[in-house]
Amino acid sequence: MTSPVITVAHGVVGYDGRPVLRDVSLAVTAGEAVAVLGANGSGKSTLIRAVLGLVPLSSGSVTLFERPLRRFRQWHRIGYVPQRLGAGSGVPATVREVVASGRLARRGVLRPPGAADRAAVAAALEAVGLADRARDPVATLSGGQQQRTLIARALAGQPELLVLDEPTAGVDAASQEAFAGALRDFVVGGGTVLLVAHELGPLRPLISRAVVVHEGGICHDGAVPEPAGHHAEPDHDHVHPHGPDEPAGLWSS
């Protein structure tokens, strides 16, 4: 189980000429669960968006399942869980309809859904504990349940690799547990995971390796760093302003 799944070699990404990732190299092999950690604005989300081809590399290369990104066509092997449900719209959609989108990568544009598609959608809804909400409009769900809908959509495609962008940001504790359970089942089943997180929380036991991104470069690649100081306290609630500390202002002495 050491076949490479994701390889980034000397990847550079810039927005409007401002470098966001500089010379990043990363390798993920089958069966690994890798967390990309870092502060807001460190470039960690950009890294996985570049892996998926959602932002172009200005130099370097990305290889998915031993095939250059440009020529990669087997998208059914990848399940993507974005940070949140797309802005959406006024048109209602049921949870089942959103999850069923996850089958398109496997089924193609023209073939109508069959029994296998329906079974996969039902299984994915079951895995995240939303089977009883399948007929409800997604807009009526809580933020955590919407997030679980998105992982169900990715799981419905029965991927080999899951790529998740801050899946637990702003998600209630109950949904985080349900989310971690679904992800655990996926990893136990031999799946590969690349996830961006700010804080691991209940996902921590699943992660086999951590990559820390700092100012557009990778500054750590190995064991999951232990929380230090008051961050290590079990009931520590991780809320603080991100980015550089506020400069001493007019009202502080």
Partner: protein
């Protein structure tokens, strides 16, 4: 009712019904992607095509299809690039389209009545050949929108996810742009360029007040479009009103009726089932 014995009224009714079905089938995707008024913009551009057709003595509808398609593709390219200047580019295209149309129609020998027929629709002057065009294109739009629903839903709902699913996102977006142009041009004869967007958007807005899913919204919107078209033409025939405007007014009336009925139904249901105590969210932090 005897008015419908005349072939021109039968053609008007059939044409309106086809457009009533096809316009909301496309419109639901435009509403979902928050481009509800794009039909209006493409309609403005189509007017330049009408003007060019009249000036060159070619079929105005066919020239309008070509010009509107070019306009819709331009709008889609501007949208896909996602620059903030896109807003202004669209404004230039819209008003350039209508000004070009008015100028070209003025240069040709046609009268202002001719321009009015395209601005506000002229259902009763549909020729058998026009009806054939409307039927072929309308059915093609309806079938495509229904057959590609899962893929088009995915693209309009979450474009980035659709790209990572390996869907041909660019081709599907272009398909929607071209379908918008075609629907606008065939609906132009029925309700006119100034009222086209209403038939694409209002039935969807009506349906989504009471539906829970995308498929049910699409089905209900198509049924409502069919109803508005049929009843609008019937009202126009009996009250001698403008057919296009009558169709749109019927669509808006349905919106009002559904809004009121929906509010009453929700109020009744709330009274019958006394509100359960709200379930508190589990605590996420312990405050000391």
């Amino acid at each position: 009712m005897e008015l419908f014995q005349y072939p021109y009224m039968q053609r008007a009714l059939i044409g309106a019904l086809i457009i009533g079905l096809a316009a909301p089938a496309l419109g639901i995707y435009l509403v979902q992607r928050r481009l509800a008024l794009i039909g209006d913009g493409v309609g403005h551009v189509a007017l330049t095509g009408v003007g060019a057709g009249l000036l060159l003595n070619r079929s105005p509808v066919l020239v309008a299809v070509v010009v509107a398609t070019a306009g819709a593709i331009t709008i889609e390219l501007v949208r896909a690039r996602g620059r903030t200047s896109g807003d202004l580019a669209l404004a230039l295209l819209f008003y350039g389209g209508i000004a070009g149309g008015v100028t070209l129609v003025g240069l040709s020998d046609s009268t202002s009545a001719n321009l009015n027929a395209y601005l506000f629709g002229s259902l009763t002057t549909i020729s058998p050949r026009d009806l054939g065009t409307i039927a072929v294109l309308g059915v093609a739009i309806g079938v495509t929108m229904l057959a590609l629903r899962p893929a088009l839903f995915a693209v309009c709902h979450d474009e980035e996810y659709a790209r990572v699913s390996g869907l041909p996102v660019r081709a599907l977006n272009m398909l929607l742009a071209v379908a918008t142009a075609v629907t606008v041009t065939i609906a132009m004869r029925a309700v006119g360029v100034l009222l086209i967007s209403a038939l694409m958007v209002v039935p969807v807005a009506t349906a989504q007040q009471v539906t829970r899913g995308f498929r049910s919204t699409m089905t209900a919107a198509m049924a409502l479009g069919l109803f508005a078209a049929g009843s609008g033409v019937w009202v126009a025939a009996n009250a001698d009103t403008a057919p296009g405007a009558s169709v749109v007014l019927m669509a808006i009336a349905s919106f009002g009726v559904v809004a009121v009925l929906g509010a009453v139904w929700r109020a009744v249901r709330r009274r019958r089932t006394p509100a359960a105590a709200p379930v508190p969210e589990p605590h996420e932090v312990v405050l000391h």
